[in-house]
Symmetry: C3
């Protein structure tokens, strides 16, 4: 479900950083979602390709997130989610002197497929099976 | 309208694959939309840039789609659309041993322009003209 | 807030073009938003990577925009915003013989953070402070 895209300077994150960040982002959802639902895609931004306030920004990381499996629709839940992200992201961003920005969007559950399978509804035995197995499989009622 | 973005390993698709996939995706909409409404953009993902469940994923293709010209708002229509995509995508993905995931979002019709022109409303003579011509043109009432 | 992503051929825009376009896009919002809210990210599309209507499109620029700080929810406001963009974009696109398309989406205000700070609500003293300073800072009530 969550599709994280992290746009930043090519030298902002080494392979170890990317691995660590991907693991910690995945951990944010691990209590309730299959781990494989979490996609983290790093985009290396070229020089002179990113502008913030009309100024070239070589020290800026922009994170966009699409949520699918769970829709957090009310402001309080949305703020609570952002608050949970801060201790994960801060050490890789703020603490390194990078400026950054993140926003999340909700997208429709039924407009989604993994390996051509319809993901099971939230908190069903089939979803728990996918979580236990950490992989998708056919399920009854799909 | 539909903006398809396909993120996958650089060697997942050759030029012939990309052409064939783009044609078949466009065909999905050809009964009701101008063909030029369909945008298919391939992104070559670098090694160690994509993580699924916190693990590097060199065998994973992620498709994101934005719909604009037609909003499928109910779950049944959304599922039916996804089901129509499966036989198009499967041969390029599942049948090649790639893991994959796709999700679609709806975005507002009136927040959209092509060549600076406002696209005509659905199922109007102007839209049919755009479809017949396979190009945008000024229309009365825009 | 506004996250502009501009996908086009690598040779479509030189550094001066990118700078000028980023400045003018930022100016679109400068009357009411902090300038640093405006992100403009250029993506150089590789050859044979973009298809329009199933045909390779080497002369096509695709702009996607996410709005966060202000949600324009009604068609009239959405059209008015698109109309304001046209004189900014036309000289870099239509006037150079490029085909192009743009669409905008609204995303939730409370799903958003800058440098780990919650952006202040619209038209508050805190937002005006951010605009005057052209940088984020802690504010009372966050």
């Amino acid at each position: 479900m969550p599709m994280w895209q992290i746009h930043g300077p090519a030298d902002a994150f080494g392979t170890d950083d990317k691995q660590a960040l991907a693991t910690r982002i995945t951990d944010l959802y691990a209590d309730f979602l299959p781990r494989f639902y979490v996609n983290v895609l790093f985009h290396a931004v070229e020089a002179q390709a990113f502008y913030v306030g009309g100024e070239p920004a070589g020290d800026f990381v922009r994170i966009t997130v699409d949520h699918i499996a769970r829709a957090l629709d009310d402001p309080a839940s949305q703020r609570a989610f952002v608050d949970r992200c801060l201790p994960v992201l801060g050490p890789f961003l703020t603490d390194r002197g990078l400026r950054w920005e993140m926003h999340v969007d909700n997208t429709p559950f039924d407009f989604w497929t993994i390996n051509g399978l319809r993901p099971p509804p939230a908190d069903t035995p089939a979803e728990r099976q996918w979580r236990d197995d950490n992989r998708p499989s056919p399920w009854e009622g799909a």
